[in-house]
C-alpha cells in the first residue's frame, strides 16, 4: 500500500529550523487561552459547546411542537411570558407553532449538524490525526468560530423582536418569506430579516472553516502519512469541506437577493400581478422557483455535510472496537467522494412538484437513486468490518452501531421519495419528516454521540461513565425509532408537514393514537438526554483519569497525552509507518499496531520499509512547522 506519489505530497511543506515546532506559543492570559483562542483544540471545544447549547434549545422547541400538535389548546406554563400575545395564557397560536418549526430547523441544521461534526470534532482532531501542531490558518479558525457565534446570537435574537420569530420554515420559500409582511403574516417582519442575516453570517463562517480544513489536510500531514493512510474521519472532514466550500456561497447569494427583495424593493423572487386582496403589490419579474433552485443547490449537499462526518466517525469507531481493519478502505474513501459529487446533482428532487419542468424532474430522479449506490457500498463495508470481528461493546461502539442501523432505516426510504411518481403522494408529508430526521438528523447525531463518548477521554483526560452512557444509548436508540418510524405511516395516510394541528381534516382523525404515541416517545427520548448532559458535566470533573490510549486505538490522536499539550505532540514530530486501522495483525504482539509504531517485525508491513527509506534519504526532520 505504499503511496509513492502521495508520500511526496507529505513532503511538500516548507522547511523549518530545527526546534521550531509550533507557530504560536502557548497563551498565558485567560482571554487568549479560552475565549479568543487560536488553538484548534480550544476552538473545537467552543464549537462543540455552541452546538450543545443549540441542540438543547432545538430539542426544547421540538417538545413544544409536539405539545401543540397533540393538544392544540394546552396551556404551557411560561409560554405566555416568552411569546407574549402569540401565546395567550400559555396556549400557542398557530404562528407560534410555525416559529417553533422554523427555529428548530434552522438551529438544528446550521448550528448543530453543520457545526458539531465539522467545526467541533474536525477542528479538534483533524490536525492531531495528521500529526500537525494546529490548523493551517489559526487566526482564520478563530474568526470562523466567532463569526458562527455572531450568527447564532442573531438567530436567537429573532425570538425577541417585534412581530415575533420567523414563521416561513427553515427553507424560507418566497414569496412567503419575501412579501409575508405585506400579507400580515406574523413573524414575517424583523424576525425574518434576522433569520436571513443569521444564515448569511453562518455561510461566511463556514467558508472560512472550509478553506482551513482543505489546506490543513493537504499541506500539513506529518512524515509518512500518505493520503491512503489517513483515518477515514479525515477523509470525511475533507469531503465535507469541499461540499461546504461549493454549497454555502450559493446560499449566501440567495440570502442576499432575498434580503434585497425585502428591504430594497427588488424583485428577484417575486413576480408581478400579486394581490393582497385589495391592491396589487409593487413587484414584477421575479421567480419564486429561482430561490428553490439556489436553496436546494446548497440544501442537498448540506444533507451530506451533516452526515459525512458521522460516516467517518462511525467507520473509525467500528474498526477500533471491532478490532478489525476497515473493510474496503479505498472503497469507503471513493464512496464518500461519490456521495459528495452526486450530492451536487440531485437538488431537484426537492422540487418535483414545484412547477419545475417535468423532464428535468425525471433527470433528477434517476441521479437521486444513483446516490443509493455509494451509500449501499458504505453500509456493506460497515457490515464487512463487523464480520469476523471481536467486538468490544463500549458506549462509542453502541452509538456507532446505532448509526449504521439508523442510516439504513432513514436512507433506504430515499428510494421512495426519489421517484417522481411516488413523490406525488409523499411530498411534504410526514413520510419526508421520518425519512430525513432518521438519516440526516438522528443518524448524524448518533455519529456525534459516538464521537463524544469516544474522544471525551482524549479531549478532557477523563473517562465518561459507561453505565450512564449505556442507559443513554438504549433509551435513545429505541426512542428515535419509536418517534420516526410511525411518521412514515402518517405520511402514507397523507398527513402534511408544517400543520399547527390536525383537527381540520377527517382523513387525519384516525391517526390521533399514533400522534399521541409519538409525542410520548419524544418526551421520554428528550428527557433521557439529561442523563447525557449529567454524564458529560460530571465526568469533566469526577470521571476516572484516562490514559493516553484507553481504547487501544491506532491513530495519531492516541499517540499523545490526554489531553494533548498545546502543540499536540510536545515538540515531537510524529512519524507514520502504516495505515490507520491495523488491528488484529497476525503475529503482532498486541491486537493493534499504532500508526507511529516503527516495528516492522511482521510480514504484512513489507511496504513500510520502502517508505522509510525514502524519508531517510530526504533527511528531513521537521515537516511539521510551517
Amino acid at each position: 500500500m505504499a503511496e509513492v506519489e502521495t508520500v511526496e505530497d507529505a513532503h511538500d511543506g516548507h522547511e523549518h529550523h530545527a526546534g521550531e515546532v509550533h507557530r504560536h506559543p502557548a497563551p498565558t492570559s485567560f482571554i487568549r487561552k479560552y475565549i479568543f483562542s487560536i488553538d484548534h483544540k480550544v476552538i473545537g471545544i467552543q464549537y462543540l459547546l455552541l452546538a450543545m447549547f443549540s441542540v438543547f434549545v432545538g430539542l426544547i422547541l421540538s417538545v413544544l411542537m409536539r405539545i401543540r400538535l397533540t393538544w392544540p389548546t394546552a396551556a404551557v406554563p411560561g409560554l405566555a411570558w416568552f411569546f407574549g400575545e402569540a401565546a395567550p395564557g400559555g396556549v400557542m397560536n398557530p404562528e407560534v407553532y410555525l416559529a417553533l418549526v422554523t427555529m428548530h430547523g434552522t438551529m438544528m441544521v446550521f448550528f448543530v449538524l453543520t457545526t458539531a461534526p465539522q467545526g467541533g470534532f474536525g477542528n479538534y482532531f483533524l490536525p492531531i490525526q495528521i500529526g500537525a501542531d494546529d490548523m493551517a490558518f489559526p487566526v482564520l479558525n478563530m474568526l470562523s468560530f466567532w463569526v458562527t457565534f455572531v450568527g447564532l446570537v442573531v438567530l436567537v435574537a429573532a425570538f425577541f423582536v417585534t412581530g415575533g420569530a420567523p414563521t416561513g420554515g427553515w427553507t424560507g420559500y418566497p414569496t412567503l418569506s419575501a412579501i409575508g409582511e405585506q400579507l400580515n403574516v406574523p413573524g414575517a417582519g424583523r424576525g425574518t430579516d434576522l433569520w436571513i442575516i443569521s444564515i448569511a453570517i453562518f455561510c461566511v463562517a463556514s467558508l472560512l472553516g472550509a478553506l482551513n480544513f482543505l489546506t490543513t489536510m493537504l499541506n500539513m500531514r506529518t512524515r509518512g502519512l500518505s493520503l491512503m493512510r489517513l483515518p477515514l474521519t479525515c477523509w470525511s472532514w475533507f469531503t465535507t469541506a469541499v461540499l461546504a466550500l461549493l454549497a454555502f456561497p450559493v446560499l449566501l447569494g440567495g440570502g442576499i437577493l432575498l434580503l434585497l427583495d425585502r428591504m430594497a424593493g427588488t424583485s428577484f423572487f417575486v413576480p408581478g400581478g400579486l394581490s393582497n386582496g385589495e391592491t396589487l403589490l409593487p413587484h414584477s419579474g421575479g421567480s419564486p422557483i429561482l430561490w428553490q433552485h439556489l436553496f436546494w443547490f446548497f440544501g442537498h449537499p448540506e444533507v451530506y455535510i451533516a452526515i459525512l462526518p458521522g460516516m467517518g466517525a462511525t467507520s473509525h469507531i467500528l474498526s477500533t472496537f471491532a478490532r478489525k481493519p476497515v473493510f474496503g478502505y479505498r472503497a469507503m474513501v471513493f464512496a464518500m467522494f461519490g456521495i459528495g459529487l452526486l450530492g451536487f446533482f440531485v437538488w431537484g428532487h426537492h422540487m418535483f412538484i414545484s412547477g419545475m419542468n417535468p423532464y428535468t424532474a425525471m433527470t433528477f430522479s434517476i441521479l437521486t437513486l444513483s446516490i443509493g449506490v455509494p451509500s449501499a457500498v458504505k453500509t456493506f463495508n460497515w457490515l464487512g468490518t463487523l464480520w469476523g470481528a471481536k467486538i468490544r461493546f463500549a458506549t462509542p461502539m453502541l452509538f456507532a452501531i446505532g448509526f449504521v442501523s439508523l442510516f439504513v432505516a432513514g436512507g433506504i426510504t430515499g428510494i421512495v421519495l426519489g421517484q417522481t411518481s411516488l413523490d406525488l403522494p409523499m411530498h411534504d408529508t410526514y413520510f419526508v419528516l421520518g425519512h430525513f430526521h432518521l438519516v440526516m438528523g438522528v443518524a448524524a447525531i448518533f455519529g456525534m454521540f459516538a464521537g463524544v463518548y469516544f474522544w471525551f477521554p482524549k479531549m478532557f483526560g477523563r473517562m465518561m461513565s459507561e453505565r450512564l452512557g449505556r442507559i443513554h444509548f438504549w433509551v435513545t436508540f429505541a426512542g428515535v425509532y419509536a418517534i420516526f418510524i410511525p411518521m412514515h405511516i402518517m405520511g402514507i395516510v397523507g398527513m402534511p408537514r408544517r400543520y399547527a394541528q390536525f383537527t381540520e381534516y377527517k382523513f387525519l382523525e384516525t391517526l390521533h393514537p399514533l400522534v399521541v404515541f409519538v409525542t410520548i416517545a419524544v418526551f421520554v427520548t428528550a428527557a433521557i438526554q439529561i442523563v447525557f448532559l449529567f454524564n458529560f458535566i460530571y465526568s469533566l470533573f469526577k470521571g476516572p483519569k484516562a490514559g493516553d490510549n484507553p481504547w487501544e486505538a491506532t491513530t495519531l490522536e492516541w499517540a499523545t497525552t490526554s489531553p494533548p499539550p498545546h502543540d499536540n505532540f510536545a515538540g515531537i514530530v510524529p512519524t507514520v509507518y502504516r495505515g490507520a486501522y491495523e488491528f488484529s495483525v497476525p503475529g503482532a504482539p498486541n491486537d493493534f499496531i499504532m500508526q507511529t509504531d516503527p516495528d516492522p517485525s511482521h510480514e504484512h508491513e513489507a511496504a513500510a520499509p520502502a517508505v522509510l527509506e525514502r524519508q531517510g534519504g530526504n533527511g528531513d526532520g521537521q515537516q511539521n512547522g510551517h
Partner: protein
Amino acid sequence: MGRVLAVLIWLITLLTVILFVSKRWWFPENISQHGVGIDRQFTITLLVVAFAFVAAQVGLGYTVWKYRATSDDKKERATYSHGNNRLEVVWTAITALIFISLAVAGQRVWASLHFQDAPPGTFEIRVAAQQFQWNFHYPGKDKAFGRTDPKLINDGNQNFVGLDDTDEHAKDDIVAPTLVVPLNRPVRLLLRSRDVTHSLWIPNMRYKQDAVPGLEIPVHFTAQKVGQYEIACAELCGQLHYKMGAKMLVLPEEEFQALMAMSQPDFQKQRDEYLKKYKLP
C-alpha cells in the same frame, strides 16, 4: 451486551415490519386513474425497501450477536482482512441495477401525467389559490372563461379571482371553494396563486401540485368514483396553512352537467345538497 443489542435491533425491525404490513393505517382509497399505477409502483418499491431494510438490520444484529468479544482474553484475534474487491464490485453492480431500474420504472406514471397533454374532451377548471382558501373557477353555461385581471381582485366584493364583470363570458362564470369534477372524464386544472406558494393536495387522487405565484401550471387527471373527498394545502403558506382545506365532489356526468349550467346562487345551493348526499369516506 452484543446479544441484547442484536435482539433490540431485530425487535425494532419486526415491529416496523408489522406496522407496515398490518396496514392499520394506510393510504386513503385511490379514486384516480393514474393512482392505480402509483400504488403499484409504491408497493414494488416498498418491497425492495423492506427487503433491504430487513436484510441490513438482521445482518447487523447477526454480526453483533456472533462477533462479540466473549472473554477478556486479548489473545483471541479478529479476522485480519482489508476487504474483498470482488464482493465489493458485485454488490455495487447489484444495487446500481436495482436502484436505477426502480428510478426508470417510477417515471411511467409521471410521464403519463406530465409529458402528455390532457386528452380531448377534457373539462377545464381554473384554480386560484390565496391565503387561506382555494377558489375554483368554472366557465359556466357558455363554456368559456370570462376575462380575469389581478387588478380587479377585491376580497371585500367577493371577487377573489379578479373576474371582469364587463366581459360577456364572465357573466355566467362560477367561482366556488369546492372542486367539482365529472366521473370518468379527464379534468384539466390550471393552477395559479395570487400571493404565496400553495400546493393542491388531494390524497384520494394521489395528486399534489404547487400553485406558484407568477406561474400558470396545468395538470390533468381522471376521477373514477363518485363521492366527496378532502383537499388540503401541502406547501407552507402562513399561519392558517393547517386549515386551508376544501372539498372535492366527483359527480355522475348528468349531475355534473346540470350543476355546471346553473347560476352562481343555484350552484351553491345544489352543491350544498350534493355535499349532504355524498358523505366523506
